[in-house]
Amino acid sequence: MSESLLKITNLNAGYGGIAVVRDLSIHVNPGEVVALLGPNGAGKTTTLLTISGLLKPIAGDIQLLGSSTTGDRPEKISRRGLAHVAEDRSLFFDLTVQENLRLGLTGNRETRSKSQENALDMFPALRPLLSRRAGLLSGGEQQMLAMARGLASEPKMLLVDEMSLGLAPIIVERMLPIVRRIADDTGAGVLMVEQHVGLALAVADRGYVLAHGELTMEGSAQQLRDNQSLLEASYLGGEAH
């Protein structure tokens, strides 16, 4: 139990007291990439927002690095080593790309410049843009910046919402191994939401499928891949309502 970086038990989460996600239990172990899948409106974003403390859980418990986050303010949860790349990217439009990155850095001067370099190595497309105002970036460039900023903080636990949103296929192709490598190299846990099921399952260790706020499938990536038809059904089922 103390092994999991993130352990969610029987979580109910939602807006205005109405649960959108019900009775959800998931966990992420160190060095693991876990995919959170499901049709639009299933409650994936809601789950991530609740993990990072931006939404208060209605019921259930969230353990991060072995201790409960109940009642903690989101900035405190973040300082424990959680990075959340939000669905809306949450960039600072008025700041330059460089400044956006700088705000993600932690540690002393040396480690900071090192992690910035690392982040830029993963997204070389950002290098020529360092002095551009983030608001002027194209949609995909913004997504890369959001990812880079999340990685720059060298998180112990990384949440990524809609990772490939607006990214060119070639970038997605490069990004997936990066996610894998982060988990393998640093032992961080990754929980990612991704619409391209095939791609996500290609790098993930395990996956959860959410539909209408409830867990409909879970298992290793291999199991989910093998059960393609069931997986598709949960998407279609999601659409029917």
Binding site: G139, E173, G198, Y235
Partner: protein, 269 residues
């Protein structure tokens, strides 16, 4: 037959950066023209330029045989050149229905006087808005504020809003981003239906499953320049496009996945 929308050496610069350089694109009437390219290639900039949201540095853009230079964005919209935004940009405090009506209604300088006397006069535009609403199955959300919808639904509202104007050319900027696979396939079907209504479409998207399956002709932009053009099949097998944009696996997988899902959908229907 000349193209509905045609650009000639269109160039857009921001400072020293050429976001579009000498772009020549033709979008034919009744066809679905696609534009793809890596992030930051200048696709959105292209739409911005032809709809008047950014200044053109040099070159021409023609719509329906008329030069667009100096025409205000709202005039272009009224003449049938209607766009959506990558970043949605809905009217958040209007209902879905009113979002559509704003787009559809013709106004004269004296409209405000008419409003004072008869605010609810019949505008004769409901039909078009109704059609757009139903086409995208948004009927049940008609009287909701766009604020209360999920991301995917908001995306569809932005498409419906553009359709309500009864455009002759619809410019879509990443309509499928954030939609799930099933939704994006359905969007593809809708797009083909829209084409039948005498509305030509210009589509930007990174969802290769969608783009490769619905487009008639595709342009590929990289660093502001057109690097390839052709039918989906040609573009997909172009090594240059593979190198700059599609990559080895991801694009393939998406395209395959899209095709497979399309098959399964049509098998059902």
């Amino acid at each position: 037959m000349s193209a509905l929308l045609e650009t000639n050496e269109l160039t857009v610069s921001y400072g020293g950066l050429h976001a579009n350089s000498n772009v020549n694109i033709k979008a034919e009437k009744g066809k679905l023209t696609g534009l793809i390219g890596p992030n930051g290639a200048g696709k959105t900039t292209f739409i911005d330029a032809i709809t008047g949201f950014t200044n053109v540095s040099s070159g021409r853009a023609e719509f329906n045989g008329k030069d667009l230079a100096g025409v205000a964005p709202d005039e272009r919209a009224k003449s049938g050149l209607v766009r959506t935004f990558q970043s949605l940009e809905l009217f958040e405090d209007l209902t879905v229905w009113d979002n559509l009506i704003v787009m559809a209604e013709e106004t004269k300088w004296w409209s405000f006087l008419a409003d004072i006397v008869r605010p609810n006069r019949v505008l004769g535009i409901e039909e078009q808005a109704e059609w757009a609403l139903n086409l995208l199955s948004l009927g049940e959300h008609r009287d909701k504020l766009t604020l209360d919808l999920s991301h995917g639904q908001r995306k569809l509202v932005s498409v419906a809003r553009a359709l309500a104007a009864k455009p002759s050319m619809l410019l879509l900027d990443e309509p499928a981003a954030g939609l799930d696979t099933v939704e994006s396939q359905q969007l593809g079907k809708h797009l083909r239906e829209i084409l039948k209504q005498d509305i030509s479409i210009f589509l930007i998207d990174h969802d290769m499953g969608l783009v490769l399956s619905v487009c008639d002709y595709i342009y590929v932009l990289d660093f502001g320049k057109i690097i390839a053009e052709g039918t989906p099949e040609e573009v997909r097998n172009n090594p240059e496009v593979k190198r700059a944009y599609l990559g080895e696996t991801a694009g393939e997988m998406q395209a395959e996945g899209g095709a497979a899902a399309a098959r399964s959908l049509s098998g059902e229907g």
